[in-house]
Amino acid sequence: MTDVNVAPVRDTSEDTVWVEEVSFIDRVPRSVSMIFVFVVFIALWQLTHALALVSPIILPSPGETFGDMLFVGHNLLTGGYMLPALWITILEVIYGFALAIAIGFSLGVLVGETAFGERAIMPYLVAIDTMPKVAFAPLFVAWLGFGIESKVALAAFIATFPIVVGTAAGLHAADENARMLFKTMGASRMQTLIKMKLPAGLPQIFTGLKIGAVGVMAGAITGEFLGGGKGFGELIRVAASQLNTPRVFSLILYLSLVGLALYALVTYAQRRIVFWHKERVGVSEH
């Protein structure tokens, strides 16, 4: 033991207790901040309308729009003429997404796993991806007719590429150690793919699926705009041609609910399947 004399310190001073500053946004519940933004948005909208900055034909008042939303909601809930239209669009989205997943995933594995795919196929995929895909709509209509097939094709066409890219990138996500480990265990290529590369790539694959889910909606509606049919996009087109802007707004809103539901479904699946991976940016609270 060392012999150190420490002079007793008289404890007369105050405790060093102080309040850490917490920024305002951290003290407010998330819902409150979200409502705040919503209220400001509506207020600005109402103000624009009240000051007649924009012609009411172009921009209806929030009240008008809300009234029309109630009308459309009532029509949908009571099985009015809009319900079958919405159902057609939902079917296009579901079929389109399923097709995009099947094709996108297969191509993604081909491109991400094989040297041939990476060298010989990927350049063509990149080339096609840079084309304005909407411009293919007339072709799909010419090939597949005015029914839902042409819309499904366009929706799938747009959604496929992000899924290809997500899957291919995901297959490269596993680190060198994991590859080496599988090699030392004498794993076959198939085992390495299924037991290591695919699970390791799931976060990227789901990112691709989410981008695809957004694209599939845009594809279906664009297809309806350009190729007719009986979907929700057609209702929007008709309302717009009649300068019924409140209707256009409320139809878009209901449509976005469908898109949101699809996105939420993918996010839910992601949280269940990729439980070990916590996303840093997202709508989730953690």
Binding site: D175, N177, A178, M180, L181, F182, K183, T184, M185, G186, A187, Q191, K195, M196, P199, A200, V274, F275, W276, H277
Partner: protein
Amino acid sequence: MDLSAAPTDMPSRHGAPVYELSHVGKTYARNKVVALEDVSLTLRHGSFSSVIGSSGCGKSTLLKIMAGLIPPSMGRVVLQDRPVRGPRRDIGMMFQQATLFPWRTTVENIVLPIEIRDGRAAAEKAKARAHDLLEVVGLAGFENVYPNELSGGMAQRASICRMLITEPAVLLLDEPFSALDELSRDMMNMELQRICTEKDATAFLVTHSIPEAVILSDDIYVMKPRPGRLAEIVTVDLPRPRTLDMMTTPKFGEIVTYIRSLLDREADL
């Protein structure tokens, strides 16, 4: 102390040769770089050997050849009387990173080598053995925990179990604890010694740390770069079991200083 003992003077407490390399060399065809030149070594049953050297001295090339991950350009690589021509189940390997897969529980990670080689049913049966191994490394009760919830040291303990589950004849350790903090590292090294003694394992460690090599090893292979080759074999005759206290003894210091001088000499070249 005989610091420059030849391989034939190995301590008699170790058994028959398990792993033998003779005149092994590796030249990368693409750029004609000689990564490894004329390496001969013998790992005896129950011995602990280390290889130490600066980066570029070919020690990872050597380890990869011994693991059957890459073929040598010349020489013979013989494990348990059979030439090594690819990965084998009697070779256990451990890396710097624990590399546990986050979608598998700890026990599922440990039986993964069995699942790969013998299928799911065998892996299921091996879980009982995995449980015993977890007990050996002090991780009992963590079977069904996901790796995200394990600390760095715990993850490396689990990866020790994964290496041991196939009951390999030789353990190849590629700087297994260098990603850990120094306190955990010392502790894990002592654990490693205990486990190796308990399992009567033959181990081969690649490391950058001279003290780590000395405290763990019976033989230390000092390597020199350009071209990668064996410079000297240093025999450590500190008694077993080794303890962390030994790191402060004069003898320990002497060996460390000697190895450092070997490595410094090479750095001047």
